[in-house]
Symmetry: C2
Subunit: 498 residues, 2 copies
């Protein structure tokens, strides 16, 4: 569970926490975390590598160095992209970004709505210290919004809502208040890999993987199918390794699979969690980005009865469904008032501006605009973009997954890896980047099968066309840029798959 098959692969796969901080500087004499480190003694390749750390970081604590290391790792890859971003007019030969999961299809609609005069309101209470749970007027709107769009059988309540500045913050706060240092959440893989940092950087919480694969066998009805048997097995393995598991993270709709759990599946996972007294964090950040109605997406809040409501915590945000990752707005919905209060106490560090709280309340209450303007247009544009990329892939004979949710297609490029290793996955990724298209490789999502890539399709048609053209060139072995052996040794980004 905590090992990597590729020795030279440097991306962290579990929370490094105290383990790595000790490894990173064995000369740190007064090591207060020694006991934790000894308990969590699994080695992570690369982490103890002195070359990883620049010598001038002695100003930082060992955990500060670990935090900076995550940044450097991500920056390494992103720097290439940001230094050479595609621009239709100014840099037409720049890099096309199929890596970052942002919806760039509806900025016109959003800009128009957010520029309306009802968004600009300044009153003293918005400029004073806030209620750290969020202003009541906003939590009331969030409760109504979730009741409607999650199809809750009962009205959801404002007192169960906490608002904060993004899903990353919510993962950080929940990990900290639910787990001790070194404890873990189960998470099925492949998964949105940034969660590793979110639960680890502040909270020192780790992830215990439930490895899924693409093979369809036995009771599994589709590739990467999560089953209770696999959850049970991962839980047993974690305990056997001395890791205490405190909860389960479910992403629904799933990132990077573009899949959704049926109500029956959800129910099974929740019953499993209840049986083991595990908290369940249900990340529904793509819930309004299900562009195929036939998929039959159901929010966990639509269930008639939650098996363990005091341990079920639901996340939602505007970053994906309203294409506003830069707005920094997320919500927690939990019936557990202790959890809500503890998260709110940490909201001193995750608070958002009163002016933004006002704007978000205005947006969420504008049901007319959401239902008649935004959602239909957004679905149509997502569907068209998805159709285009899907058809391109089909024409190339490349298998892929996506049932009609999210911004991405999970693409099987295994046949392009001669030996099927993660090194080869990385080489292919670099060939794409050298040919000016940024993708996300499966290892960043802790996929156990080398050769899967995530293609983000929620972008303008001309960029999709150009990007797919470059993808075709690479796969046909006709990269524009000659392959340079030295370039493939550049460190890969861990954060590219936001």
């Amino acid at each position: 569970m905590f090992t990597l098959s590729q020795k030279n692969f440097r991306a962290p796969t579990t929370c490094l926490g105290p383990t790595c901080t000790q490894d990173m500087d064995s000369s740190h004499g007064d090591d207060l975390e020694g006991e934790c480190s000894r308990k969590l003694d699994q080695k992570l390749p690369g982490v103890g590598d002195p070359a990883m750390l620049s010598s001038d970081t002695s100003y930082l604590s060992s955990r500060g160095r670990m935090i900076k290391w995550f940044w450097d790792l991500a920056e390494e890859g992103y720097r290439t992209y940001h230094m050479d971003e595609y621009d239709e007019d100014k840099n037409p030969s720049g890099i096309i970004n199929f890596g970052t999961s942002e919806n760039k299809l509806c900025f016109d609609l959003l800009s128009r709505r957010l520029s309306q005069s009802d968004m600009q309101w300044v009153e003293p209470s918005l400029l004073q210290y806030p209620d750290w749970r969020g202003h009541l007027f906003l939590r009331e709107e969030v409760a109504k919004f979730l009741t409607f769009y999650c199809k809750s059988p009962v009205p959801l309540r404002p007192e169960n809502v906490v608002v904060l500045n993004g899903g990353a913050s919510l993962f950080s706060a929940l990990a900290t208040v639910l787990c001790e240092v070194g404890e873990a959440f189960l998470i099925p893989t492949p998964y949105y890999g940034a969660i590793t940092q979110h639960v680890c950087l502040y909270g020192n919480v780790r992830l215990a993987y439930v490895y899924l694969d693409s093979e369809v066998t036995g009771l599994d009805t589709r590739p990467f199918q999560l089953t209770v048997e696999k959850l049970e097995m991962a839980l047993r393995e974690a305990y056997a390794e001395g890791v205490k598991v405190k909860g389960l993270i479910l992403i629904n709709p799933q990132n990077p699979l573009g899949d959704v759990y049926s109500p029956e599946e959800l129910q099974e996972y929740l019953v499993f969690a209840k049986r083991h007294k595990l908290h369940v964090i249900v990340d529904e950040v793509y819930m309004l980005s299900v562009f195929e109605e036939s998929v039959g997406y159901r929010s966990v809040l639509s269930l008639e009865r939650l098996p363990d409501p005091q341990r079920t915590h639901v996340m939602w945000a505007t970053s994906k469904d309203f294409g506003m990752s830069g707005l920094r707005f997320a919500t927690l919905y939990t019936e557990n008032q202790d959890v809500a209060t503890a998260v709110a106490s940490l909201c001193r560090y995750h608070g958002l501006s009163g002016l933004v709280q006002y704007q978000m309340a205005q947006l969420l209450r504008d049901r007319d605009w959401i239902n008649r303007v935004y959602l239909p247009e957004n679905y149509a544009r997502l569907k068209a973009a998805h159709t285009y990329v899907s058809e391109e892939l089909r024409a190339l004979g490349i298998p892929f997954l996506n049932r009609g949710a999210g911004f991405f297609i999970w693409v099987d490029l295994r046949k392009y890896l001669p030996k099927g290793t993660f090194e080869e996955e990385m080489l292919l990724w670099r060939r794409f980047l050298d040919n000016k298209v940024l993708l996300s490789f499966g290892k960043a999502f802790e996929c156990k099968e080398p050769g899967w890539f995530r293609f983000v399709f929620s972008d303008q048609a001309h960029r999709l066309r150009l990007g797919m053209q470059r993808v075709r060139q690479v796969l046909a072995g006709k990269s524009q840029v000659a392959e340079d052996p030295s370039s493939s040794q550049t460190q890969e980004p861990s954060d590219q798959h936001r």
Copy 2:
């Protein structure tokens, strides 16, 4: 250093961290923090008290319970206030708030400025994932702003700026990246007590107090004078107790004293820090709230040369100087790129909306409005309010401190405590509250002398008049509300002194 003189006093005085989390639930079998707890074994009164914890908090981790406990403690006192807030029309007999350090004098100017059309700008880049250090256009404005208002001898640089959602977040991030668990910052007392939580809740960092007193003796030139001798002594004491000190926190202008450090004093403290390789966090959040020009305030960034620039980190925010604590905007200025990068990496959890970043850039670049409209009017209003409260106190024969900076007067009510204990300080505080005026008591700032109170004066004249009238009544022994022995047992708020 880590003890409390009053056994029944429940407000935490140092980072509770692993110590209290273990104390709070000794049945937590798999205690990964055991080693830390044993190392940090000082007992905190009240923390291990089972009555403090409700039995239904078993859903939380031990650190989650500690975090919630801080909230409950603060809420207990604030609930009284929020249930009975003064309103001129609707609740004229409600509680007047002299406790929260907010500037309520300039909402008219701010509302007008923030409502102007140049503030409303929505473009795609503001709605996309941000640079976690802050958008470059904003960091450029912050650098120019600080260069001008801090009177820097050289232009300050955007690459040394990190922006985030408030000073609380900045304390949390700096503590985490500079210190290991259980390490400490020196801080002179009395100090803005919320810093205890900011460095502790996520970072598990504690404060080591440099106790100052009001007596003017020897080399001390004024009450609560900080000297290098006292810093040296506190550092020795901390080491003697086995606590590793990583830095020094200086608040300038000082909260709650309303005092400022001279350039010579600043220089001495910085040289002391350099000698011991200590980081210095200089909190200048009140730097533009110095309403007496004769005070001669100088920012640390105005010094010709910093003794140890790689270990000097400067904080500023709009919460106090622009009366916008609800806007959540703060900045770090540091030449140390490792520190800047590590803090930026944590800004995933402290990010602020792109729309707010745009607004703040607009505000900070509007030098004309700041210099000709806002600052002169703000100074005049602060000065008038300060003069009114000062004269009231003089008429009552009550000693106080404030040299002309900040929103508060540090008031010596020791003669009203018959025995000079913190219990009596608390009783007097409660008499004020019972007579409908909320103040902050000295213990919340870790003042070592019982009987000091902080009066926030940055409020409208009619509220100041009514508040002072009620204060007079209490001091004359004529409280409107009869003293009820049971009421004095209510738990005090730890967070009332924001």
